[in-house]
């Protein structure tokens, strides 16, 4: 495979494409603030506020919660939520407000509804299936014929495996790892 020499116009086109792909832009004018602007002396309970914003996703920095994100939009949404709490709205009302505008994606935790059952109950189902397989396997192994070794063969086997553990007197099986 040959490499075409990279001309500067090709580079420019690549950069323009990359910029075009960056459809999320952050205003440089003033970076977002954290939670220090909130006073928490009014109607808003600090713990409740912090708990709620950590349950919501920042849509710009999509792997951060609204609590952690520094994005401008996160700042705006935090302010909005604070305002709504101050006016006495419940968590459900606030969440509904955001979901109506941004969809379920804004919830950090997916809702529990039929289409997300596989997400919420899947692991438990897997554990249950695994347990059944495990019980079945163990039952079968219990009745399995143990390979018959003569004493000489047993010693030979130990030699091969390089073990020289002293077995418990009269009992089968080893103890040490």
């Amino acid at each position: 495979m040959t490499h075409k020499p990279l001309t500067s116009s090709a580079i420019q086109r690549v950069f323009i494409l990359l910029i075009a792909l960056m459809s999320i832009n952050i205003p440089p004018a003033q970076a977002a603030s954290g939670l220090e602007e909130f006073n928490f002396t009014g109607n808003v309970d600090e713990n409740r506020f912090k708990a709620l914003i950590s349950q919501l996703r920042c849509l710009v920095c999509q792997n951060e919660s609204l609590a952690d994100s520094d994005a401008e939009l996160a700042h705006d949404l935090r302010r909005e939520i604070y305002g709504m709490m101050d006016k006495g709205q419940t968590n459900k009302q606030i969440v509904d407000f955001l979901v109506a505008r941004y969809g379920d994606f804004v919830l950090y935790n997916p809702p529990v509804e039929p289409r997300t059952w596989i997400l919420w109950y899947g692991p438990f189902a897997l554990l249950a299936i695994g347990l059944l397989v495990l019980i079945y396997t163990v039952r079968k192994r219990k009745h399995q014929r143990e390979p018959d070794f003569s004493a000489q063969e047993q010693q030979r086997l130990n030699e091969l495996l390089g073990d020289d553990e002293r077995p418990e007197s009269g009992q089968q099986g080893d103890k040490a790892v």
Partner: protein
């Protein structure tokens, strides 16, 4: 000139890889000793060329050769030397070269340290590794050439992303890659055994140390990544269940299941089919991690610049490698013999249970990571699965595993009397429940979690002590500890002991920092003081500072407690010369039982600043626990019983046939 030579070295390495993948393998099947013997020299050869290629890229960075596109994108004349070197693996192409280079390191390790293994086995192992090498070298040469030139060369490089200009970048990726790539050794051993039809206790014993070492590297890499994020990102988080983090965690989980399963196969010849499958799975997850990080399929703060074309290449590679290995598994599995039987209550069963839970956790991490993709692909709407879901699930399943972890070392192989086990565990149970209640009580209303965690840790600790006491009692008492340690099987045991202890410490760290940490976002004026959790923070203003390639706003915070000064912290806000977005450097006072963590926010009017003050109890225990676990693995791998002196000579002679697999003779 040197970059071209580096490029050429890669091509040569690819040629060698092709030869290595074909000839030794065929030689081992046809009994052609001359072809079989090619394996080791070819591996050494690949290493030489890859080392040269890697050195060529390092050289390009150190000499600021911006005519190389990759260097132009990531290098900069003003960067400190350590970051110039780290930049080699700071982005996609270079990190792939690191992958290929580390693969060659593992190859020569296999070539050098398997003198006492049958040559045919080694030939097959190296052939499989050669096939993997072909994949990565092709990927490099055809889609991601780190030596591509740019003309005209820019006068200055674009610089490494400031977030990466940290000591963490120097160590985290190399460690992680040693782990990822190391899993390929267990994988290759498994494939080699499947091809040869000889899957037995010996195979398990050969594989185990390699797997343990790779697992150790992977665990260490993950711990380093977490520690790095904590130091670097400015808000004290240490794990985000980010897709890329999950991509490294899944092979580790599978690897943990694998080392435990290998123990059973090694000892009792049982679970062979399952162990082989796990060996294939662990590396497959590694490869899939590579795919997820580089293809743009998932959103992540860590992902390399995504390119669907590259993603396609990796996907095809994945299909070939994993698909054919699983096909081989399906074809060979029926002829793998069963090992010894065991009772319902036995160490085998408990280890099987442990494996089950580990696999369920791996599956759920996979499910959560891929869920957004699944829902989007099936048009079930867009959902997001984040930190809360992962945490909830993880915390639900882990306690079950911890309970098994405590009981298993005290349980005999093959058959354990239930009454006897209960007698041994009685004390541990009592102490654990007591500890749980004692810790939970003060927080009764909202905090059962701390109590449960402490209970589980105490459970692990007390069962470990019980196990150690019993062992030493049979092996000569505590005065014989040193002798026991160096005996056959000794280091394995103590390795397990330390690794499990590490888990106990880890649990304490995670629970305490999650339940009891305090965060305050405040606005402070110079000379203002704020008290958080008994610590007095005095803000002494911000001064500008010039760094090697950045300008910083440097804050000074005096922290004191009960009148004594505890620390002077200097959080910074840095603006790097090339990038406009400022970056935070936290000021951290490190302590064994707590961290004090301060980061600088935005400047506000009137000389005030926004600050974040954190009190983080026991956070270091997270990484200490992780490192201990990794150390335990290393200790275990160094057990003298893995030194194979006589084994190879004896193999092939007259041996009870029902312990070795049906199939071809050696």
């Amino acid at each position: 000139m040197i970059p071209e030579l580096g490029h050429f070295a890669l091509i040569l390495a690819l040629c060698l890889a092709v030869v290595q993948a074909i000839f030794p393998l065929i030689g081992s099947l046809n009994r052609t000793p001359s072809w079989t013997a090619m394996a080791r020299p070819l591996a050494y050869g690949q290493f030489v060329f890859l080392a040269f290629a890697f050195a060529a890229l390092v050289h390009a960075f150190l000499t600021d050769d911006f005519s190389v596109l990759y260097v132009a994108q990531n290098g900069n004349t003003e960067m400190p030397t350590i970051y110039k070197v780290s930049a080699v693996w700071g982005a996609h192409e270079g990190s792939l070269l690191l992958w290929a280079f580390i693969l060659s390191i593992w190859m020569i390790a296999v070539a050098a340290f398997t003198r006492s293994l049958p040559d045919e086995m080694v030939a097959r192992v190296l052939s499989v590794m050669g096939m993997i090498s072909i994949g990565f070298l092709s990927f490099l040469l055809f889609t991601s050439n780190p030596f591509a030139r740019i003309f005209p060369a820019p006068l200055q490089g674009a610089e490494l992303n400031p977030l990466l200009q940290d000591f963490g970048l120097a160590i985290h990726p190399p460690m992680l890659y040693m782990g990822y790539v190391g899993m390929s050794v267990a994988f290759s051993f498994a494939i080699a055994a499947l091809i040869g039809g000889k899957l037995d206790n010996a195979w398990a014993r050969w594989s185990r140390p390699w797997t343990l070492v790779a697992w150790m590297f992977l665990g260490t890499g993950i711990v380093l990544g977490s520690w790095w994020a904590y130091n670097e990102l400015g808000w004290g988080g240490w794990w985000f269940w980010d897709p890329v983090e999950n991509a490294s965690f899944m092979p580790w989980l599978a690897g943990t299941a694998l080392v435990h399963s290998l123990a059973v196969t090694e000892k009792r010849g049982a679970f062979k089919r399952w162990t082989v499958l796990l060996a294939l799975l662990a590396f497959s997850l590694s490869l899939m991690g590579t795919f997820l990080v580089r293809s743009g399929v998932l959103t992540s703060v860590h992902a390399f610049a995504s390119d669907p074309a590259r993603g396609m290449f990796i996907l095809v590679f994945l299909m070939v490698v994993i698909g054919s290995s699983l096909l081989l598994y399906a074809l060979r599995a029926p002829s793998i013999s069963r090992g010894g039987g065991f009772d319902a209550l036995s160490r085998e069963t408990l280890l099987l249970g442990n494996n089950l839970i580990l696999i369920v956790i791996t599956a759920l991490v996979l499910l959560g990571t891929l869920a957004p993709l699944i829902y989007d692909a099936f048009n079930w709407g867009k959902i997001s699965v984040g930190f809360p879901w992962f945490s909830t699930m993880f915390i639900t399943f882990t306690p079950l595993m911890i309970l098994l972890m405590g009981a298993a070392p005290l349980t005999r192989w093959k058959h354990q009397d239930g009454g006897e086990l209960l007698r041994q565990l009685r004390l541990a149970l009592l102490l654990s429940v007591a500890a749980a209640i004692v810790v939970a009580l003060p927080f009764a209303a909202d905090n059962g979690a701390a109590g449960v965690a402490v209970g589980l840790s105490v459970w692990l600790l007390t069962t470990l002590l019980t196990s150690a006491w019993r062992r030493l009692r049979h092996h000569g008492g505590i005065s014989a500890l040193i002798a026991d340690f160096s005996s056959r099987g000794g280091r394995s045991y103590y390795g397990m002991w330390i690794a499990h202890l590490g888990v106990a410490i880890f649990i304490i760290g995670v629970t305490f920092v999650t339940q009891f940490d305090i965060r305050k976002d405040v606005r402070m004026s110079p000379a203002q003081e704020i008290v958080v959790n008994g610590y007095r923070f005095r803000f002494d203003g911000v001064t500008p500072r010039q760094g090697p390639n950045y300008v910083a706003q440097r804050g000074t915070i005096h922290v004191s407690r009960n009148g004594h000064e505890v620390a002077v912290l200097h959080p910074e806000k840095r603006t790097y010369n090339m990038k406009s977005r400022p970056m935070t450097e936290a000021g951290i006072d490190v302590g064994l039982f707590r961290d004090i963590y301060v980061s600088l926010g935005e400047p506000l009017k009137g000389g005030d600043w926004a600050l974040r003050l954190y009190y983080k109890p026991m956070v270091r225990w997270i990484w200490l626990g992780g490192l201990l676990t990794a150390l335990g693995g290393l200790l275990s791998a160094s057990d003298p019983r893995y030194r194979l002196r006589v084994l190879a000579k004896v193999t092939g002679r007259d041996v009870p046939s029902n312990t070795l697999a049906a199939g071809e003779q050696a």
